[in-house]
Symmetry: C2
Subunit: 91 residues, 2 copies
DNA sequence: CATGACCGTGATACTAATACCGGTATAAGA
DNA sequence: TCTTATACCGGTATTAGTATCACGGTCATG
């Protein structure tokens, strides 16, 4: 095992992150937010739909900056189903 | 070109991130911190040395949580040489 | 109704992140 | 001195993130 495939828990965490970003985006269009963050619209879409469950740190940071979301809040909200160690405790 | 190769600016940003993490690690060993964050020691080493300039968001989040660093502080410190839009202004 | 612009989406291509392995160097201790 | 522990480094393998291309849907406008 060289590159651990993403666990279902990580997938769900990515979906939660995407949902938060989409919710924060509100009525603004993908292209607008993506352009403001400096990423492609397709990348933003993948992140929002959860198809990119573990995006790059600075990508999320740029999006959060554009959307006005604190990074710590994002991380906490996505990890609330389990702390940093308990990866798959129950939910 | 489908996947933009990392720019020198992004490399330097990664080095800055790594330096901050290493500084926050203090005297603790890599394996200890890496284990606490749930990543391999090699990954932590690559991030600290800047050889993984754009790590995954949750990887950085886990490391920051272990090290007691606020994510927003990390992002701000790494992007202080230029905001989200100004990628390569000078320094 | 046709056309174009915008938005979201799927497929594809390519680079990078993550993990494992072996080897090396330095410092501490037996 | 030899062993051990820590960190660094190179290479390798595999998955995943990101960008470009091409398509369908919707709305405004001619």
């Amino acid at each position: 095992m060289v590159r651990t495939p993403l666990t279902p828990w990580e997938r769900q965490r990515g979906e939660r992150l995407g949902a938060l970003l989409r919710e924060a985006r509100g009525g603004r269009s993908m292209v607008e937010v993506a352009a403001a963050a400096g990423v492609s619209a397709e990348t933003l879409r993948k992140i929002e739909t959860g198809r990119a469950p573990t995006p790059a740190f600075f990508t999320v940071a740029a999006l959060a900056a554009v959307l006005g979301l604190p990074l710590d809040d994002l991380a906490a909200a996505c990890a609330e189903s389990g702390d940093e160690d308990g990866r798959a405790l129950s939910a």
